[in-house]
Amino acid sequence: MRTNKESLLVQTDRHLLSGREYRGASRIDGPLVYMRNTHAVGYGELVEVTSPDGTRRAGQVLDTSDDAVVVQVFEGTDGLTLPGTGMRFMGEPLTLPVSEQMLGRVMNGLGKSRDGSAIPHGEAERDVNGEPINPTAREYPRDFIQTGISVIDGMTTLIQGQKLPIFSGNGLDHNQLAAQIARQAKVRGNSGDFCIVFAAMGIKYDVARFFTDSFEETGVLDNVALFLSLADDPSIERTITPKTALTLAEHLAFDKGKQVLVIMTDMTNYCESLREIGTMRGEIPSRKGYPGYLYSNLAEIYERSGKISGRSGSITQLPILSMPNDDISHPVPDLTGYITEGQIVFDRSMQARGIYPPINCLPSLSRLMKDGIGEGMTRADHPHLSNQLFASYSHVKDVQNLASVIGEEELTTLDHQYLDFGSFFEKKFVNQGFDEDRSIEQTLDLGWEALSKLPSEELQRLTDEEIAEHYGK
């Protein structure tokens, strides 16, 4: 056994050895490279991998022991050879140089320029893995963000500092919705210093293009930092993209005091990359082959949002994920729903009926809504109104089921009134234009207009005063 003095020597040695290059890998398997006979390498250290042709790639230590080190290479292992692969262990975790000038730039998943132009020097170096925010240091988010979209503002209100994912499916309008939110979102009475961090994981070029075009048209592109790891980039790069993006977001929000909206799409691709690495390392899988630590891993991403007391900035997350086969119980949406503060759920049948945004508000939820709405924030009648709309709309579904069995003719008058309400609610309240920006008052008034299709004694979740003030007006 070593004494303290000896171990101090080992520490010093390690410092001196970091940065030294080793050549010759012992095994390459997918994105993982195994190397033997190195000095003692720290867990999670940043690695610079040199390929035989001299290009450099970034990697990270996944497993370290006396005799071998396992490194995952973010830019993929294409072109590496066993004898020709070089490695330098940097003695520190993967960091990102962050600066305000990164706004307006297009970068890859590691924060390097995608278009060849130089990225400005960072003002600070940050560990991309971040550190957990102390729950006692958090400030409870309660500032209402007006997105201008009725079904979100009225029913699943977005709050500054919230993480609210969009559960969508292939071919649904989630990109349009995310772009519309990015364009219209504002905190009322406070213009704030607003900016967007956009992280793309494994999405198609066209989709990335749609977002850049949309940002450009509205003139916000200078206020957007894009981290793109597209479908044809190495899948391993996707596992680091959201972390890089959030590292910049944390800098902008908590050091620079900006209100940051982080859009991440598509989280399902991110999870699939994790599964890929897990399988390759021979880990014991849990549900559907996803690694057992998927929950913790997703939490490390989603929990990097919120507000810190005493600092003016905030990070609001809007992750987009596609539910494979529209299955909300699939591990990715399921685990996400357990971490995030609610969810916005898309419904294919609503899109088929031409309703935009095709949000089914019944399974949708905003957990932070309760403290961000009502008197002084939106309007006094908002909490009860949204509650009533939920209850009534959920009854519409029962009536529709009944009607499909016994036929609409057999329904009672009250049931018909419910159907009228339902159709008004979907076509007028939920449905709106891609460019339509409704104020919260317009939204709430529309809600009352919908409820006025029902007899007032059905509105048990509203107080008599509220009914007297707004009903049928």
Binding site: M1, R2, N4, V10, R14, A40, V41, G42, Y43, G44, T64, S65, D66, P93, N129, G130, E131, P132, I133, N134, P135, T136, A137, R138, Y140, Q162, I284, S286, G292, Y293, Y295, S296, A299, E303, G306, S329, H330, P331, D334, L335, G337, Y338, I339, E341, G342, Q343, L362, P363, D371, N387, F390, A391, S394, N401, L402, I406, E410, L411, E457, Q460
Partner: protein, 592 residues
């Protein structure tokens, strides 16, 4: 803590570390790793090697790093100052951590759980020469306005004589308060502080039968599926069904003396919400702030996974400590699924053979061990205290057939199943009256009957029967429409619908409705059943159901949970009288 080196790091794989050159490490010993002094625990020993699980992020740990032993198992500090504090999973006070590392939690920090500087007003209760036994009280300290902290002889001392005791005055937790002489002549100096290993239950004299209900203020729970003090309950539900809200409500309004709230792998903002809300809320029974009886443990989902595994034990050990002082303690564990997943993750990293869905084969044993630490006990000192466990379960995909829900059901005696369709229509608390059950009905029957003039048992049975009938009728309605049913049966649907909105639903944000007193619950149920009785009679006389339903007083009933105060029993009596009169009037018209 750098004196004793127990081994060197051989391999690092996330939160699991293998040590080499190990000879004197203990099983479950707490260790510190590397120069950063990260906290870990020895979980396996073999062939000069040890497996250690690390309670902090392992980045930067190298093979060859020294590992230092502490000589004791992972344990918690127990003494005055716990109440009102917020801890992480291994009992580090988060506010102190914030003072040291700012808004983000750095690694390798170490703080004592309670304030060692603060002076507490000590009052002795034994005299020099007295014979004391383990668990016996030797003094008290006012911890908060409502908690009189009892200082006890630690369980390790079976019998001793008091040789010296401090006089009344202010002391810190490190000051020696009592000196006792053991029968073998050895002296022991005791402070206000005790340490106890988290994985070992604190000893008690005897387990007692459960007989009192834990009143939660939620009608659906208290009246339909009561939990006994010292009992265990699981609340399973998919995301968004209101597990956390239900837990919060119970933590706020239940009649336990002490609450230990464990946020195990849940959202950071939720814990902030509790932190922000609890100090402002006032206990309806004592008029004091709720924080004065609450200990919080926040190991949010992005904090290290091993600490999440430990958080449950940290919580229950503190609960047992207060139980030994004679308090009734309730633990909220939100959520035990995250804890089970932490077990799975660690087991996977240790390359153990998995059982169902990747969970280790010892999962049911661990769940059972945890829930068995609840109970209504006769403590070592002879007084009675209880620990009740309310564990949330988050089944993936809301599917109750998954291993954690299934195994939990085997070891709890009460089950409050949350229903997604109820939550979607914003029926909160979304506790399903069809899936839920309570095995404590028999245990608490006499208590409840005493508090409801003997009505509770019958009324409960009656309404449960109606709800069962409703299910069958609803099936018919779904096929042929409501018009096909006679009014007498339609009226059952009507009464059940009213029961759901007027009784089962509860608004956690309404100042009146968020808590419902026992008396009000009893009265409300009796009014609703009276409505059924009188209404059925009237319908038999030929009164159309629509007429009854449209009565103004019926609308009032639907809102009585919001409009009538918790001790305004007269108002409910009046309502009942008017209801009876209105229906009688209607009956009168149609009889002629």
């Amino acid at each position: 803590m750098k004196e004793r080196i127990v081994g060197q790091v051989k391999r690092v794989n996330g939160p699991v570390i293998i040590l080499k050159d190990v000879n004197d490490a203990m099983m479950m010993e707490m260790v510190r790793i590397g120069e950063q002094q990260l906290v870990g625990e020895v979980v396996k020993l073999y062939d000069g090697q040890a497996t250690v699980q690390v309670y902090e992020d392992a980045t930067g740990i190298c093979p060859g790093d020294n590992v230092y032993g502490s000589g004791m198992s992972l344990s918690v500090e127990l003494g005055p100052g716990l109440i009102g504090t917020i801890y992480d999973g291994i009992q580090r006070p988060l506010e102190k951590l914030m003072g040291a590392s700012g808004a983000f939690i750095s690694r390798g920090l170490n703080f004592p759980a309670v304030d060692h500087e603060k002076l507490w007003a000590f009052v002795p209760t034994v005299e020099v020469g007295a014979i004391v036994h383990c668990g016996m009280k030797f003094g008290t300290v006012v911890e908060t306005d409502r908690v009189l902290h009892v200082l006890m002889i630690p369980p390790s001392i079976a019998e001793a004589t008091v040789a010296q005791i401090a006089s009344e005055g202010a002391y810190t937790v490190d000051d020696i308060i009592v000196t006792v002489v053991l029968p073998n002549g050895k002296e022991e100096k005791l402070t206000m502080l005790q340490r106890w290993p988290i994985r070992i239950p604190r000893p008690v004299a005897e387990r007692l039968a459960l007989k009192q209900p834990l009143i939660t203020g939620l009608r659906v729970i208290d009246t339909l599926f009561p939990l006994a003090k010292g009992g265990t309950v699981a609340i399973p539900g998919g995301f968004g069904t209101g597990k956390t809200m239900t837990q919060h409500s119970i933590a706020q309004w239940c009649d336990a003396d002490i609450i230990v709230y464990i946020g195990c792998g849940e959202r950071g903002n939720e814990m902030t919400d509790v932190l922000r809300e609890f100090p402002l809320l006032v206990d309806p029974r004592t008029g004091q702030s709720l924080m004065e009886r609450t200990i919080l443990i926040a190991n949010t989902s992005n904090m290290p996974v091993s600490a999440r595994e430990a958080s449950i034990y940290t919580g229950i050990t503190m609960a047992e400590y207060y139980r030994d002082q004679g308090f009734h303690v309730a633990i909220m564990a939100d959520s035990t699924s995250r804890w089970a997943e932490a077990l799975r993750e660690l087991s996977g990293r240790m390359e153990e053979m998995p059982a169902e869905e990747g969970f280790p084969a010892y999962l049911p044993t661990r769940i059972a061990q945890f829930y068995e630490r609840a109970g209504f006990m006769k403590c070592l000192s002879g007084i009675e205290g209880s620990v009740s466990i309310i564990g949330a379960v988050s089944p993936p995909g809301g599917d109750f057939s998954e291993p954690v829900t299934q195994h939990t059901k085997r070891f709890v005696r009460c089950f409050w199943g949350l229903d997604r369709s109820l939550a979607s229509s914003r029926h909160y608390p979304a506790i399903s009256w069809l899936d839920s059950y309570s095995e404590y009905l028999g245990d608490v029957r006499s208590w409840w009957n005493e508090h409801s003039d003997g009505a509770w048992q019958l009324h409960r049975l009656e309404i449960m029967e109606l709800l069962q009938k409703e299910v069958r009728l609803q099936q018919i309605v779904k096929l042929v429409g409501p018009d096909a049913l006679p009014d007498s049966q339609n009226f059952i649907l009507e009464v059940c619908a009213l029961f759901k909105t007027a009784f089962l639903q509860q608004n956690a944000f309404d100042l009146v409705d968020r808590f419902c007193s026992v008396e009000k619950q009893v009265k409300m149920l009796s009014v609703i059943l009276d409505y059924y009785q009188k209404g059925s009679e009237a319908i038999a006389k030929g009164v159309p159901m629509v007429k009854i339903r449209r009565l103004k007083v019926v609308q009032e009933m639907a809102r009585m949970r919001l409009t009538i105060g918790n001790d305004d029993m007269e108002a409910i009596d009046k309502l009942q009288l008017r209801l009876e009169r209105s229906i009688d009037q209607l009956g009168g018209i149609y009889e002629n």
